[in-house]
């Protein structure tokens, strides 16, 4: 009996060893925001080429840790690393898709797109400086809207996330009081309000609490039909959040002046640019010890840039503008090299 058990275990070990030797799947880990679109792309890519992608949505922080530990082929992060951090770790980052963060609220009788907000007002609301919906400053900006006499319940993220990073970076940019008291990070000391876990936690709280305001990724606001606010652009116009306005913000982004593609698409110029937009990034090593694996990663994303736009749009993401994709391809040639000093992948 024991001999049979040992024989079976050995057979299993050899089979699994043989199977793993054949697998050429790419591995990636990181941000949860783009996980749905990466999965969709991976599914189609595997159907076309037979190469699979194993992506683990463990969060941007986890993605950065894993790529630094070299356990995955690429890392994914909503929060871009600064050029000095990239150089210190020997990493190269490039964006893949663009998304927007949308302030949502729950007010009786108010429907989506009725209320206008500016960055400074939003910052003061989140600081707890504005506590009621019929505050004079809100009324001045929205004279025609019947703002109720309700206290504002602030909802923020309890977990660290790229969404919070984008949101707090925007508030830091527009509201000096926020910049001095709180600052920008994926996890901050929120002065007031309650914390929901994940985008779904925040949207659940906002939907359940009358008089609440929160911030979620655009996909959540759209699919749950939440009441969003119009935000003021850099130019002073008020725009709703939708794919066109995110694309407008992405189009205005001056990627050529951003070393390491470190660019937050916040408060971009243009009459239609949604002010709280951001891209999500991929991290790979500049020096690829395994040029074959590195080439496969870049080939996957090149395929996604060429063929993945419809899938991304169907999932409420915004693809990058074509000129930016060209810039990224050139950057691959210049930055991601194998041991022989040659670029691992040249797009055709």
């Amino acid at each position: 009996m024991l001999k049979r058990l040992i024989a079976a275990a050995c057979a299993l070990a050899t089979i699994s060893a043989a199977a793993s030797a054949q697998a050429t799947d790419l591995t990636g880990a990181g941000a949860t925001f783009p996980a749905p679109v990466y999965s969709k792309w991976a599914e189609t890519y595997r159907a076309q080429t037979g190469i699979g992608l194993n992506y683990q949505a463990i969060g941007s922080g986890g993605g950065i840790k894993q790529i630094k530990a070299r356990t995955v082929d690429f890392g994914a992060s909503d929060k871009p690393l600064k050029p000095e951090d990239l150089n210190a770790a020997g990493l190269f980052q490039f964006p893949t898709v663009v998304g927007g963060v949308v302030p949502v609220m729950n007010l009786p009788g108010i429907h989506a797109g009725q209320i206008k907000l500016t960055g400074e007002l939003l910052g003061d609301i989140y600081l707890g400086a504005i506590t009621k919906w019929n505050d004079p400053r809100l009324k001045a900006l929205n004279p025609a809207v019947p703002l109720p006499n309700l206290p504002i319940t602030v909802v923020h993220r309890s977990d660290g996330s790229g969404t919070s990073f984008l949101f707090t970076s925007y508030l830091t940019m527009k509201d000096p009081a926020w910049a001095s008291k709180v600052g920008a990070s994926d996890s901050v000391q929120w002065p007031t309000g309650l914390g929901g876990k994940g985008n779904d936690g925040v949207s659940a709280f906002v939907r359940q609490t009358i008089g609440s305001i929160g911030y979620v990724e655009y996909a959540y606001a759209k699919q749950n039909h939440m009441t969003y606010a119009l935000m003021q652009t850099h130019q002073g116009t008020f725009v709703p959040p939708d794919a066109n306005n995110f694309a407008a913000a992405a189009g205005h982004g001056d990627w050529s002046k951003a070393p390491g593609f470190y660019l937050l698409l916040l408060d971009q110029p243009g009459p239609a640019s949604w002010p709280i937009t951001g891209a999500t990034f991929i991290l790979v090593y500049k020096q690829q010890s395994n040029p074959e694996a590195g080439a496969q990663v870049l080939k996957f994303f090149d395929w996604a840039y060429k063929n993945g736009d419809p899938a991304a749009e169907a999932l409420d993401y915004v693809p990058l503008p074509a000129p930016v994709k060209g810039m990224i391809r050139k950057a691959w040639i210049a930055n991601v090299k194998g041991p022989n000093g040659q670029p691992v992948y040249v797009s055709r």
Partner: protein
């Protein structure tokens, strides 16, 4: 036996097949036990090493400050610690009477036909995964609580009274009290099951003599059964408390996650487990990670003390 060994014909036979493997079996069991002890020690050592930078930087202030600021890297654990203890104790207060009532009902009053179904129902409650409790709490219980308990209470309490202070807060059901209610539902089955086992150890003659003297059921339970198992009952209660202290997902969804000390029953707070669950994944600063690991060590110590007390109190009765 000795005759068989003296017989030369029999002693020439080969030893039984199992004899060679017996020491292997013994060593395998010994290895399993030492592996368990080693992993426990490893956990404590890893927590201590990981949390050391935070303890070194903040010293005793780590336990007395409520500031949790990842941007300026100032961390204080008072908020989560207080939240953990308050929610666990509240959960205990809410569930203990019901657990006790279930146990007494099953032992004293329950018709034999209903005994198994109710017992199975209590055990099923124990088997529901905690994240399902969290989802149920967030999507079903919290709105119900906000609409039917919080809002009426908040509009009914007199202005400026102690009741108003106790019930102030955002009426959306995400607060320490609802988290305690969910925790109470989760620890109810364990306590009910253990209390029932304990009450069944009370000798029949003792109970019969109580009834024989004319006592009511209440008097028999309170004056005969309960004193008999008092020490182990406390142990069962502490077992439930230990479970409530470490509960993560059910609490994270519904406690509101604010690091300040809760100012009223209906204010949001946080627990150690919910703080770690929320922030550990994304904590890229070394001090942030260290503070979270230090929190983990604190929770480990609290739970260890509670469970050790529970084992000590329970062990004397159930072994006999």
């Amino acid at each position: 036996m000795t005759a068989a060994i003296d017989d030369p014909a029999l002693s020439r036979r080969s030893p039984p097949k199992g004899a060679a493997l017996d020491p292997v079996f013994r060593y395998a069991c010994f290895a399993a036990a030492t592996a368990l002890l080693a992993s426990l020690t490893g956990v404590v050592v890893a927590l201590a090493i990981g949390g050391w930078p935070a303890f070194a930087k903040f010293g005793f202030g780590f336990f007395t400050s409520t500031e949790w600021n990842p941007v300026t890297e100032q961390f204080g654990a008072l908020g989560p610690i207080v939240g953990t203890l308050v929610s666990a104790v509240l959960a205990l207060i809410l569930s203990l009477p019901i657990a006790f009532g279930v146990a007494v009902f099953l032992v004293e009053f329950c018709p034999t036909l209903l005994r198994r179904p109710i017992g199975v129902a209590v055990e099923l409650l124990a088997g529901v995964p905690s994240i399902v409790y969290g989802m149920w709490g967030l999507f079903v219980f919290a709105p119900f609580f906000a609409m039917h308990v919080q809002l009426p209470l908040m509009s009914a309490v007199p202005e400026g009274s102690i009741w108003e202070k106790l019930t102030q807060g955002v009426p959306n059901g995400a607060n320490i009290f609802t988290a305690s209610v969910i925790l109470a539902i989760m620890i109810l089955p364990y306590m009910a099951a253990v209390l029932r086992e304990l009450l069944m150890t009370v000798p029949q003659q003792l109970r019969e003599s109580g009834y024989g003297m004319g006592s009511t059921s209440l008097e028999v339970v309170m004056s005969v059964s309960l004193p008999y198992v008092r020490r182990s009952a406390v142990g069962a209660v502490m077992l439930g408390l230990g479970r409530a202290l470490g509960e993560t997902m059910a609490v994270t969804f519904i406690i509101g996650n604010s690091h300040n000390l809760p100012k009223s029953l209906f204010d949001s707070g946080s627990t150690i487990a919910s703080t770690i669950a929320n922030e550990f994944n994304e904590a890229t600063g070394a001090m942030h990670t260290s503070a979270l690991i230090a929190l983990g060590l604190v929770l480990f110590m609290i739970t260890f003390v509670v469970l050790a007390l529970a084992r000590a109190l329970l062990g004397s009765e159930t072994r006999a």
